[in-house]
Amino acid sequence: MRRAQGIAGNVVLNVVAWTIILGVAFPLFWMVVTSLKPQFELFRRPPTMLPETVTFEHYIRLLRDTPFLTYFRNSVLLSTATTVIVVGIATLGAYALVRFRFRGRETLAFLVLFTYLLPSVVLIIPLYLMLVSLGLSNTIFSLVIAYTTFALPYALWLLRSFMAGIPEDLESAALVDGATRLGAFWDIILPQLLPGIISTALFTFILSWNEYLYALVLVNSDGARPLTTGVMKMLISSFNIEWSLLMAASVMMSVPLIVVFAFLQSYLTRGFGAGAVKG
């Protein structure tokens, strides 16, 4: 009896849960469906649930007739470079902030938190002027620098809490055994910190991949334009809103991320929780 109740309860839970999950994922489904509809079917009223005619013309046009691939390459380069630089610097910084005593440590930690408040719009023009005087305007690297403004405080904050979660005894034991401070960092801390680093890297990558405002203002050449502004620019002209093409671009822009994150998802959840809860 209780067992039957348990099974029934389980079925109800599953049905309810999956209804919500499918509801949340519906836009994903609709994005794919729309991207496969030919133009004339798109403006059918009422809309067709599944495409009557499946076409890949929008994907072909996207790859062949638009700079989509250039934007894609730019986004990959940009996000990867930002992630590597930011996570590298933040790891060292977090280590210093957590495990060393020096003048100004508390002030720095506060500053990190404070820079968190800065809206991007404030920094744009000063940053742009600075980048131009460095001769970096309109390059992917200029966006890497701009993205550091929001990615570095975030990465530092995350890594600091991960770092605080690693027992100090381990490092002390290694030091007693005669390891140098940097040697202990390399051999003891880094392996322990790896889930945290992966997690931070993933979040940094997502932030960079999704950024829109800096890219809108700082870059105006297709050679350096990332996907976010590229897709908006490429497809929304005042003449025509090509929803099928937009949805095809959206799919192409999202699928690689989803595949990667489907594999790293457990890392993401485990690592994030283990670190961030320490505040």
Binding site: Q39, F40, F43, R45, I124, I125, Y128, L129, V132, S137, N138, L216, V217, L218, N220, S221, D222, T229, M232, K233, I236, S237, S238, F239, N240, I241
Partner: protein, 393 residues
């Protein structure tokens, strides 16, 4: 795009040593991009397709090179009479020139729907238009795709309505005069049209408005000749049913007012290669390349040079052949068109027009009165104050 590539290749072929790099931008993106570029001194050598009032603004701030040399190189007589008046700046020089004309507020109608509703003639007055829309609005079909969004289309189109009721935004010597009977009549009419427009018209801009008509969701449209090409490509069933006219007015006593944003070409003052830029600007009007440019969107961009209109190569295009009367009407309307920087032949050139449009003050007026239901007097007062502040800043 392809037409530009052709022009660039041709120009590079005749002027060795000059390399033209082509960058594109978007309606929403160009303002911050150019602002950042001007601020830094890293400017493009030549810019095209900005509305004339934006060009006037930049010229007034000393950011642009006078364009007289280029106009002379093309041949001042080649242009339609008065075509460059809109570019004459306060100092008597020209700040740029039009790369094409456009008639942005043409009334597009469906002959089949008018016939089914028993309407014989294309509406010429607002009352006729409203009655026609009411007659044609059934089930899922709406009367008109007028924009009520907080964007430049709403501002630009509504300025047209003000003039179609005999009103004006500025006096000829550029005092703010938007609070007048014409504006009030326009607001009243625009409000009465709300229920004849799709629910989402509150966010419509050019693209949505155009698509609504082309897809057959509305009985009338308001757009440039781009409609012709889009119908051919996206909904060919309508191709034989559509025609256009100048947009209706409050009464037939008032002259039609066609909005032409004069997509422009100009040269930033900080350009490091002015001579090459000027040569290239003039080259853009070389018939072979220029006609390709116009054919990229037949009926949308209309020639600014008289000699081109008559050129048989220009005439040799399926849409221009098929819709000759429509294209001729648009060309004539656009050549006699106006915009906020140039409200009438008697108005001084308004260097702040770009900022007035950019502030969305006029779109705000439409939204306040029609969507929020605010008091008209108060909303007009606020709008007048907002525009006045921009003029005095």
């Amino acid at each position: 795009m392809a037409a530009y590539q052709f022009q660039i290749a041709a120009f590079e072929a005749v002027t060795p040593g000059v390399k033209v790099v082509f960058e594109t931008t978007s309606d929403e993106g160009y303002a911050p991009q150019l602002a950042a570029a001007f601020a830094s001194g890293e400017v493009p050598d030549i810019v095209t397709h900005l509305p004339s009032f934006a060009v006037q603004t930049d010229y007034a701030n000393g950011l642009l090179e006078p364009f007289d040399d280029v106009i002379a190189a093309i041949g001042a007589d080649e242009f339609y009479p008065g075509a460059n008046d809109v570019y004459r700046a306060a100092d008597g020089k020209y700040c740029g020139t039009g790369i094409g004309n456009s008639a942005a507020n043409m009334l597009w109608v469906r002959r089949d729907l008018m016939q089914a509703a028993g309407i014989d003639t294309t509406p010429e007055t607002w009352d006729e238009l409203r009655a026609a829309c009411q007659a044609m609005q059934t089930g899922g079909l709406f009367g008109a795709p007028l924009p009520y969004g907080q964007n430049s289309m709403t501002s630009l189109i509504f300025i047209g309505f003000i003039h179609q009721a005999g009103g004006q935004v500025f006096t000829p010597d550029l005092q703010v005069a938007i609070d007048n009977d014409g504006t009030r009549a326009a607001l009243e009419f625009y409000r009465s049209m709300r229920e004849l427009c799709p629910p989402g018209a509150t966010t419509y801009s050019w693209g949505e408005s155009l698509t609504a008509f082309v897809s057959g969701a509305t009985a009338t449209g308001i757009y440039t000749g781009r409609v012709l090409a889009n119908v051919r490509d996206q909904n060919p069933a309508l191709a034989d049913q559509i025609t256009c006219a100048t947009y209706p007015r409050l009464s037939t006593d008032i002259a039609p007012w066609t909005f032409n944003d004069f997509p422009s070409v100009f040269i930033p003052a900080q350009s490091k290669q002015k001579d090459a830029a000027k040569a290239f600007a003039a080259f853009l009007f070389d018939p072979e390349g220029y006609i390709q440019q116009l054919h990229a969107a037949p009926g949308h961009v209309l020639p600014v040079l008289q000699s081109i209109s008559a050129n048989p190569i220009y005439q040799d295009n399926d849409i221009i052949r098929k819709c000759g009367p429509e294209v001729d009407l648009m060309a004539a309307s656009a050549a006699g068109g106006f915009n906020l920087g140039y409200e009438s032949a008697g108005h001084q050139s308004n260097a702040k027009a770009g900022e007035v449009i950019g502030s969305n003050a006029i779109a705000d007026l439409v939204q306040k009165v029609i969507i929020n239901g605010d008091n008209v007097d108060q909303a007009l007062g606020e709008t007048a104050a907002a525009i006045d502040a921009i003029m005095k800043a």
